[in-house]
Assembly symmetry: C2
Homo-oligomer: 346 residues x 2
């Protein structure tokens, strides 16, 4: 194991970029002042950070999974705009004492997730640039770029873009992927901090089902292909802060009310019941805890879409409710708070 | 003064984005999963981070200047590719206890620098997205996007792009802006930590010339307009790590040797002599210290370009040397080390 401080910046960059795959859109890749790439259509761009002690802790740190998570949360955001990812910029701050093998694992995770998304969506997603800095805390800031629609088309359906603002009363609400699993995994990780589980997520001493929930927290695997199967939608959002919050954002942006069909969530709740039984306290039943994960837990990076109702939902999607006139979110008609996660109190 | 923890994330975003100016290229701005913008030509992208205790310390922290610096270092990188900046993504991690007024000052600094660059280069540079997170350390990660050349032109002169790799023997070396001033300012700040100066950079108790050097460290002001005046060049680079290092990068990428004309640097050295006299130790003279700032100090964000010699240099540029066959960097023929700054030891 070799620490970064023994290698120097240029050797570190060489090692970590050895995992990268280039793309036919790349004119100038990493190594100059900036990258240059050929784009077709409008540009889609999004940036997200993962910060130590805020989004993960050293005690759960698995560098490869952290890379997967950092890439997934950014690629999801590009994907739900109806766009194809185009490339990633990866800025990284890590302590001097970090081992190069750990950093390589992080980049291998980023590249693996970018390749998975590229395979599902039929595009190439190279790392085209970034920055490397030393720091007391681990911080990963990724920018994901994408392209959508025809070049120069800036009106008429927003140039092929699907926003949060297009849902209409009467639309059905569809979900791809899962919700609640990462939140259950997070609670299991916190419980594990009390010594309940082993340190390595692959060697939890817990059963395989619980381990899979923790994996969803550490390395979410968005169902990018589902977005390709959907074709189009009136609105779309990545569920990063929880169903209630993110559906609330669509409702607010579109000026509609979103009613969730409680029965449609049962298939999502059932697989969480063993973990919920494991963690439920006297004040809350396992069923209530599992429902709260499904309603309020983000980070699986499921996708929500609204659309006129399909006879049969597209591959990967399930119908979970309906848009109506009004505002806010409800569950079988009963209002659901949409406050969600905030980084800063309140 | 109000702390972020009293406001909640959405109110914080509202306050800081109130400083933003939109642009005609923006189809979907901040607030959806990703931004969508209309681009003409090839895409230029670069990302840079500023990390507390690595790039600045609390004791010198001036939020507005930090915003200027963060924007300037990214905009410079776009500019030296021969490109026009298109937009910024700003990801920010700050402690919960940060005051909203400080964050507003940071964003006001970013916006002010983006507007200054836009005015000099004839383009609009809005903040189009980003992320906000709480953290134990202050981290600012900015991605700057730009456009260059005609869409789809991916060969023949790299589609209008100026890289580090095009310098030829016989080209003259030109510099725009300054070098060495930020490095002198940094040494003054470190000296100040011993109590020599007052805390506020505007109230240093030092004379105005020394204060200006510190200002260059805290809030560099790249001469973006000079790049517009240059027209084209065989190679270009932003001097972020020092003349010797960055000129060494051009020499290495282009397969040439770069010889600096010592006499041409005197105009850059002279203004640094008062600060150098202030700080020089027994082992180094003021002249030696000032020369080392000019050769090895980065962060003024001067621009280096190589080109066939001009009769009269374009506005903002001075000739400082010549490219020759060979490799490495020399000063009046004597080899200069190009090791430069590394974030990780060695």
């Amino acid at each position: 194991m070799t620490r970064l401080s023994e290698l120097g910046e240029s050797h570190v960059l060489e090692r970590i970029l050895s995992h990268n795959r280039s793309g036919s859109q790349v004119i100038i890749g990493p190594g100059d002042d900036a990258a240059v790439t050929a784009v077709e259509g409008n540009l889609v761009s999004t940036a997200d950070m993962l910060v130590e002690n805020e989004d993960f802790t050293r005690s759960w740190l698995d560098w490869r999974r952290l890379g997967i998570k950092a890439a997934a949360q950014n690629l999801s955001d590009v994907c739900v705009m109806g766009a194809k990812p185009h490339g990633l910029l990866v800025s990284l701050a890590v302590p001097n004492s970090t081992e190069i093998e750990d950093l390589e694992a992080l980049f291998a995770g980023i590249v693996a997730e970018a390749n998975r998304a590229g395979d599902e969506l039929g595009c190439e997603i190279p790392i085209i640039g970034g920055d490397l800095s030393s720091s007391g805390l681990i911080v990963i800031a990724i920018t994901a770029l994408g392209t959508v629609g025809d070049p120069g088309v800036t009106s008429a359906g927003n140039g092929g873009v699907i926003t949060r603002a297009g849902a209409r009363p009467g639309d059905s609400i569809y979900l791809a992927g899962t919700i609640g699993r990462a939140a259950a995994g997070l609670d299991l990780l916190f419980a594990r901090a009390d010594g309940e589980y082993g340190k390595d997520p692959d060697d939890l001493g817990a059963d395989a089902d619980l381990r899979e929930l923790i994996n969803t927290q550490l390395a979410p695997q968005p169902d990018y292909a589902a977005v390709a199967h959907l074709g189009t939608a009136s609105a779309m959002i990545d569920v990063s802060d929880g169903l209630s919050t993110d559906l609330g954002r669509v409702a607010a942006a579109s000026g509609v009310h979103a009613d969730i069909d409680r029965a449609s969530l049962q298939e999502l709740i059932d697989p969480l019941l063993p973990a919920a039984r494991h963690l439920a306290q006297k004040t809350v039943t396992a069923e209530e805890l599992a429902l709260s994960w499904v309603l309020n837990g983000g980070e699986d990076h499921g996708f929500l879409a609204s659309s006129a109702q399909f006879g049969t939902p597209p591959v990967g999607w399930r119908r979970i409710g309906e848009m109506r006139p009004g505002h806010g979110v409800s569950l079988d008609g009963a209002p659901v708070p949409t406050s969600g996660f905030s980084h800063f109190g309140k």
